[in-house]
């Protein structure tokens, strides 16, 4: 009896690998399994498909069971310009190290390099997508991780270009460390909630670096948005945290570092807005806290439309902007406190670091330009300077309440 038990155990140990341990299926153009399609047909849930270097021209790869697909030596899935490359319909699928190329545009369907539909817990990591209409597309999915992918579109016209990462009706998604360029929007969220967008680099996209539509309670942190049509547009959403990002080099007639439209109860903190036509534009923005940001070398640091209510601008630094604040009306319900303004010329007799006279950041000239843009040609005129000084002493046309009563003498420590 005492000897029988170990023998049974040994037999069990022999049986286990065949039934429960994951197998590895190797796809190699010169091997017994030459196509990914075939590997997917052979695979059982939990298997790993190792794809060796090569060029795979296959119909849309449908991943309908829980597998891990790993590329070795950057194998290329070539969609040939007319169909979707990979479609994932199973939970917990992992795709790593793959190159996906040439998913052509379509007027009727949102074709993507990798499309995930109604799945949970998938990981799409370290892939390279080139010239795909949409890059990575999630619909009605949750708990997925999209990380360290490089998605490069060749978008010339917006109409023929989709978004690099597109989330529709999804939640609990992490988008981290991706490089996104040449698409319509770098990252697009629609009806998406409780998701995190962190440390991505979104550059040279035609419309927006990042775009929120009806997407609540999300946060984006430490991302870089440069040379996009508009850096980031957050629209029709609430509870959005925007912290530690760089919004840079959005130049043009309607170019903004950050565009807020119908946004409530959100936070914009510790960001850098540099070299944009307009750093931050807010329309229909309510109860937004804008604190600890740096606005440097923008045409306009802030444009706040009169319908924006109860916003707070605190401890920000304004350096080298042509205009600090512009608005389109004479009413204002936003509060400005303890900001540093390089245009401030007041004094600090009591030495507490806070200027003794309030600062009015809206120049009369900014208001004139808002109403009549060609007037901008008078920017360097000394008559305009005279107007500005007169208006600051005795505000008549600029919003009387738009004033920082505690302007800093020196910028706070970065």
């Amino acid at each position: 009896m005492g000897r029988k038990l170990p023998w049974h155990l040994a037999l069990l140990a022999l049986l286990v690998p065949a039934s429960a341990w994951a197998r590895e299926i190797v796809v190699d153009p010169r091997g017994p399994v030459p196509t990914i399609t075939q590997a997917l047909r052979l695979a059982r849930p939990g298997d790993r498909i190792l794809v060796r270097a090569g060029r795979y021209r296959e119909p849309t790869l449908v991943v309908d069971r829980r597998v891990e697909i790993v590329g070795e030596g950057w194998p290329v899935v070539d969609a040939g310009g007319d169909h979707e490359a990979i479609r994932v319909t199973a939970d917990s699928v992992v795709i790593r190290g793959m190159v996906i190329e040439d998913v052509g545009p379509s007027a009727v369907e949102d074709r993507a390099g990798i499309k995930l539909t109604e799945v949970h817990g998938c990981t799409i990591e370290g892939n390279r997508l080139r010239n795909t209409f949409f890059g990575i597309y999630l619909a009605k999915s949750s708990g997925c991780r999209i990380a360290a992918n490089r998605i490069q579109g060749n978008g010339v016209t917006e109409a023929l270009s989709g978004n690099a990462i597109h989330l529709w009706s999804s939640n609990g998604v992490t988008i981290e460390g991706n490089q996104l360029s040449g698409h319509r929007d770098g990252i697009y969220l629609e009806f998406t909630e409780h998701s995190i967008i962190r440390q991505n680099r979104s550059t040279g996209n035609l419309r927006y670096g990042l775009h929120f539509m009806f997407s609540n309670d999300c946060e984006y942190l430490e991302n870089t948005f440069t040379n996009n049509g508009v850096g980031v547009a957050v629209m029709y959403s609430h509870g959005v945290a925007m912290v530690g990002n760089r919004f840079e080099h959005s130049w043009g007639g309607a170019a903004y570092g950050l565009l807020l439209k119908d946004i409530t109860d959100s936070q914009v903190s510790g960001n850098l807005f540099g070299d944009n036509s307009v750093g931050l534009y807010a329309e229909g923005a309510n109860r937004v806290i804008v604190s600890g940001n740096r606005f440097e070398r923008n045409g306009w640091a802030l444009k706040i439309m009169a319908d924006a209510q109860d916003n707070r601008f605190e401890d920000n630094v304004f350096l080298g902007n042509s205009f600090d604040v512009a608005t389109n009306g004479t009413s204002n319900s936003s509060r400005f406190e303890r900001n540093y303004w390089d245009h401030y010329t007041g004094y600090d007799l009591d030495g507490d670091g806070i200027g003794d006279v309030p600062f009015r950041p809206v120049r009369l000239f900014a208001l004139l330009v808002q109403q009549n843009e060609p007037a901008l040609i008078l920017l360097r005129s000394s008559f305009v300077d005279l107007l500005d000084v007169a208006e600051r002493v005795l505000p008549v046309l600029t919003p009387e309440t738009l004033v920082d009563r505690s302007p800093r003498m020196r910028p706070p420590h970065a």
Partner: protein, 154 residues
């Protein structure tokens, strides 16, 4: 004298007819640059874009039929002589008179403002699109009068 008048009459009549027909025409949209005059989004998808041209020739541009309808209802001060135009979903380089176009609202149409609305040249084309996409067919009156809430899929 009479002969000259007779000879000149047809071209003059044509000219008069031509002048009578001139009315505000839709202007091209610069995709990626022009902003929607209602929602402020950059217009990028011709399939859903639209315009209102006022009697005086002022042009308002929109990224979604719902924006056009909302702007016309809420913000357009003087509607007399103003014309509304929508792009044909099937042939997005064609303008349609918004008043005579047929519309489909479908969850399968991912429009910029999530209204799900697209315009078609006639009822037959709208019906064939509806057969493919699902949804309902609407007239301009339906589109113009209703508030178009975003079609939340959750």
């Amino acid at each position: 004298m009479i002969a000259t008048a007779r000879r000149l009459a047809p071209p003059l009549a044509c000219l008069a007819l031509f002048l009578a027909c001139i009315r505000p025409a839709p202007q091209p949209i610069r995709y990626g640059q022009d902003l929607c005059d209602h929602c402020h989004m950059t217009i990028s998808d011709p399939r859903f874009a639209g315009e209102i041209v006022t009697r005086t020739g002022r042009v308002y541009r929109f990224d979604d039929p719902a924006c056009l309808a909302a702007f016309r209802r809420e913000q357009l001060r003087d509607t007399t002589g103003a014309t509304a135009w929508v792009h044909d979903f099937t042939y997005p380089d064609r303008w349609l008179d918004a008043g005579t176009a047929s519309y489909v609202r479908s969850d399968a149409l991912h429009t910029p403002m999530a209204s799900g609305l697209a315009a078609f040249a006639d009822a037959a084309q709208a019906d064939s699109a509806r057969a493919a996409l699902g949804g309902t067919r609407l007239t301009w009156e339906d589109v113009a009068t209703a508030a178009h809430e975003p079609r939340h899929p959750l």
